[in-house]
């Protein structure tokens, strides 16, 4: 198999940048997309890729993103959905508008992106769709109902897709990121000691490994957490 083009949606965070770099280093042509492409210009230049503007909760923008990516170099063989939105607080004080937004960004946008990806992959019989989840997708924490709703929904989407699309040759994978992602050596949350937060470059290695798995032994879900994280 010779996957060459990756698209990372929801880019901007440390994980997206690390994925973009590692995928590029492994020989892929990498496009990145976010609500504000200007934030991605430096990254795109670094990896020799293209940056696109897209609000992943807007159907038309997602359609256009995939059309543009395709026009620019071909449909992607690997698509990662990385966007999410959360709000926290006592359940009775949550703003319903924020709950809608958490569902829209975290789950519905994932559907829109995954569907456009699958439409291009299913006819070819191969491709990989990777969805970035969180511990909130397997455990509903107090004071965090909106994020739980969004990440649970994303996991349900991933599982349904994996069951339907794996036999069509598409590798759908869901990553349970269980812990804080490090923003660098000076991350103030670093008080947990060395490697106490997830290094985005370390997470990216596992995405690449799952991408490289032979189809006789595919993983649909993998949890990642720092060694010192209680769970």
């Amino acid at each position: 198999m010779d996957y060459r083009r990756a698209l990372i949606v929801g880019a901007g965070s440390g994980l997206s940048a690390s994925l973009a770099r590692l995928f590029a280093k492994s020989g892929m042509n990498v496009a990145v997309a976010a609500r504000r492409a200007e934030n991605l210009a430096a990254l795109a230049q670094e990896i020799g890729g293209k940056a696109f503007t897209c609000d992943s909760t807007d159907r038309d923008q997602v359609d256009k993103l995939f059309a543009d990516v395709e026009a620019a170099g071909g449909a992607p063989d690997v698509v990662v959905y990385n966007a999410s939105y959360r709000t926290r607080g006592p359940f009775v004080d949550l703003d319903p508008v924020e709950v809608e937004r958490a569902l829209a960004v975290t789950a519905y946008g994932g559907f829109l992106v995954a569907q456009q990806a699958a439409k291009r992959m299913v006819p070819k019989g191969h491709g990989a769709i990777m969805l970035t989840g969180a511990s909130a997708g397997v455990k509903g924490y107090p004071q965090s109902a909106p994020f739980a709703m969004g990440k649970f929904a994303l996991r349900g989407l991933a599982q349904s897709m994996a069951r339907e699309l794996a036999p069509k040759g598409l590798h759908v994978a869901h990553f349970v990121i269980d812990g804080g992602i490090s923003r660098g050596p000076d991350d103030p949350r670093g008080g947990r000691g060395p490697d106490g937060l997830l290094a985005p470059s370390a997470i990216a290695e596992t995405y690449l490994h799952v991408h490289d798995q032979a189809r006789s032994a595919w993983t649909w879900e993998v949890e990642l957490r720092p060694w010192v994280e209680s769970f």
Copy 2:
């Protein structure tokens, strides 16, 4: 504890009617709500309760529903959310509008209703909020991503609420209905033999039991399936 008022939202199906009847029989004053209250008139009359019109995906209508129920007899002590919406089909052919609707009716409406319920129960330090889930909420089936997204999200909501609100005296419970609900003795899906579909009156007995549990031994989730259902 002396719970007296129940509100069942998403009424109309066999399960809602059975719940309404059993709750009424056990001594509760029962209100029912659905998008078209006229469908509930006969049921309301039968149980000596009131029927309300409410689109549970509309924040203003949900606010008004609770205000009206409160005005009519007092805030409910038990609230059941029973509404859901699904669409099926090959993943690449799903209509995004239907996906949004599945999330809105199945999960977001559950949030709106549960939040209005909790706002009234938390100050009193007691009450029960019951959410009707499905096997789709713990297992994402092929060709059914929208329902998986909605029911997973509802389960995440329920788990987050249970963790936060139980110590405040609110019993939050999630029911995993795993199998078809019988529409009566002539249900054409009855080919699985006697009791091969879930009798709504049997399901209702378990909701009532969970409601009646002492707070020293509360259940937050319970699965129900017909004896012949493979799982």
Copy 3:
């Protein structure tokens, strides 16, 4: 259905006594068994039932127990397995003899008892087998590998049995007791406030409810925890 005879194995603890009392009160003829029957004499007298001596890890004793119960009044229609054994400590310091014992009492004894029960129930096409699990059966805690091994194994047994035997009319249920069981109003662990420990009589109510479920809506697993227990 007219179940009349219950057998509770591993009796002695507060839960077994509460189950025996509630089952007797609901009209069942109740037998209790434990390694030392003399400890059960008062309970047996109170409920008008019989007490038997049985080490549930010994195949011959389990065979004899069922033969004796059958001879004394008929094969049981409801069998509860309640015995368990645990040891705790740093993983590297665990005594392998204690690990073997935890597996034997918690899981293997459950198999022996359940099999003798099933042998008598399958030909009749009805009966209930209830296995008492723990949070340790769904979550492996640190410094508690032996109990995790035993209770996970018991849960695997229950799930395999439920899938196989439900279509034969046997209701197999597994109870996840998540929290400490109260030993009475003076339990020193009562510092968590009122109802902060599981009242055995409250747990028993849910066992009886599950027993009474109609076969069109059976539960195979139910979790129980005090309202204040974090999970």
Copy 4:
């Protein structure tokens, strides 16, 4: 980190041989152990490693195995437990002796091996212990209670160990092998089409990846299945 010595227990099957070859190719010194070391002679020679005889259910033999491995070249940095035993059939017909054996080989032997490994790794603050599970460890299938008991217990062991030992620097991982492992191109179960069974060499790649993960992003459990396997 510079792990150099691996020990694979329960060797003989396709997976163990593939692991031994891949670990050796990646630069490790690999020892293999099984009940009959003579079956491992060719493999040991091929990978330039040593073969040991050990019944993993016998405490003294496991103690001796680790002492011998240590004497031969140093304590292992990576230990894989691969042994299991199963028996199938109607629940009421299962032979209790076989159930004991399934628990002993599949779970208790895993404990004995893991404990000897941990005793040597904890003082050093690093090492990896990998336990080979199965879908039977997360789902109890009908007519397969003994294997469910053994593999559930093994998973409980792995989870308890991971929670306790990860903060001490030990990477404990559990692999859920969901599907048949191919015995080669002529495997008669190959009727599922190309790559329809798990290639042991493909499984081994994921073990090696998990071994190579940086400790800021460790996986404790990963599922592997062929692309065409329904789940």
